[in-house]
């Protein structure tokens, strides 16, 4: 007579498969976020087809207020930068894209919801100057109550 109970011999295989799936699909964060990020919620979210076209810019109150103060700051790549440096940063990001896609560069503005429009519009002004006019206001989904 067969032993009762389910064989768990294949359990390690299943779990390893899950493990590899997660290892392959996830991207480790390459940069430390130096500013606060409470992303606002919205309903009309869109997803971009090509992720490679997106460059991220972070706006918020610095986490390290002793060093950087309490006024909202802009972070691009690894460092906090001045709005005036955005143009140069955009050009660097654009140069990394293949030639045909350069006009389609999209800047994802990841701004904290407590930031005022002043810093945001300064950034948008610089983006216009840099001719990177496609902007994505990063936001999370909101549950709509009907």
């Amino acid at each position: 007579m067969a032993e009762p109970g389910i064989s768990t011999a294949s359990l390690p295989d299943i779990v390893f498969m899950l493990l590899f799936f997660f290892m392959v699909t996830t991207v480790l964060r390459e940069q430390d976020i130096l500013v606060e990020q409470k992303i606002p919620a919205a309903t009309q979210l869109q997803k971009l087809q090509k992720k490679t076209l997106i460059s991220y810019i972070f706006i918020g109150k610095p986490k390290n207020t002793a060093l950087y103060g309490v006024e909202p700051r802009v972070q691009a790549n690894d460092a906090l930068i001045q709005p005036a440096d955005i143009r140069q940063w955009v050009n660097q990001e654009r140069d990394m894209l293949p030639e045909a896609d350069r006009g389609l560069i999209t800047i994802s503005i990841k701004a904290d919801r407590d930031v005022k429009m002043g810093p945001i519009s300064d950034v948008q002004f610089e983006l216009r100057e840099a001719d990177a006019r496609r902007v994505l206001y990063a936001s999370i989904g909101k549950v709509v109550k009907d």
Partner: protein, 212 residues
């Protein structure tokens, strides 16, 4: 050699704890990784202005502009009336589809091609927009307006447009927005939704008063 081995108990490594080890690794990766979300609201900024060339003086009838002002206290002034975000998307929809004075043949055809549910929104008010091709929604903020409020308003205006587009092609708003244009069928759906009703959202330069 072979003879000796027979007498011994089997020499396999106990694999019973393998599942535990793998689970531990799995949970570690689940906890430490964050799935990057690339979702957001897309906005196209206006082209940069040449300081030597004055901005073009475009004559737009006042009734074709739907003005939303947001002050530093996050209060809304919609078309000159104190208001809040409640029902703003409906107001925008009614403004776009007002068809107060469709001037050319195209606008009339556009109206005739609309589904009945959208035709019902055309109230033909003299103080609202002439036709969807002319209508512009303008959002003006203050430097002290909070980003959250601005995004909420921008979101609602986008919702009004997406609602109309989706209704025209018989889709759910979420389904329409989910169209990525990866094949011809999706592109044609997108185009049919948008045709004749451009998404004209103007973001005015914020004024300096009361901000930082």
């Amino acid at each position: 050699m072979g003879a000796r081995k027979k007498n011994r108990p089997s020499q396999e490594v106990n694999a019973g704890s393998m599942a535990d080890i793998a689970f531990l690794l799995l949970i570690f990766f689940l906890v430490t990784t964050t799935i990057a979300s690339d979702k957001g609201i897309l906005n196209i900024l206006p082209p940069k202005q040449d300081p030597n060339v004055p901005p073009p003086d475009i004559k737009v009838n006042e009734r074709n502009i739907f003005t939303i002002l947001i002050n530093a206290n996050d209060q809304l002034l919609v078309e000159g009336e104190y208001s809040d975000t409640e029902g703003l998307d409906m107001k925008v929809k009614e403004f776009i589809l007002n068809f107060g004075n469709p001037t050319d043949e195209e606008a009339v055809q556009l109206f005739n091609g609309l589904p009945p549910s959208l035709k019902a929104l055309a109230r033909r008010l003299p103080e609202s927009s002439d036709d969807p091709g002319e209508a512009v929604v303008s959002i003006k903020t203050n430097r002290g307006t909070s980003y959250a409020t601005y995004l909420e308003v921008f979101d609602l205006v986008k919702k009004a447009y997406f609602d109309i587009y989706a209704e025209r092609v018989n889709l759910d708003t979420d389904e329409y927005r989910g169209l990525t244009g990866k094949d011809d069928a999706e592109v044609s759906l997108q185009d049919r939704g948008k045709e004749g009703i451009p998404m004209a959202i103007s973001i005015a330069e914020p004024d300096k008063l009361g901000g930082n």
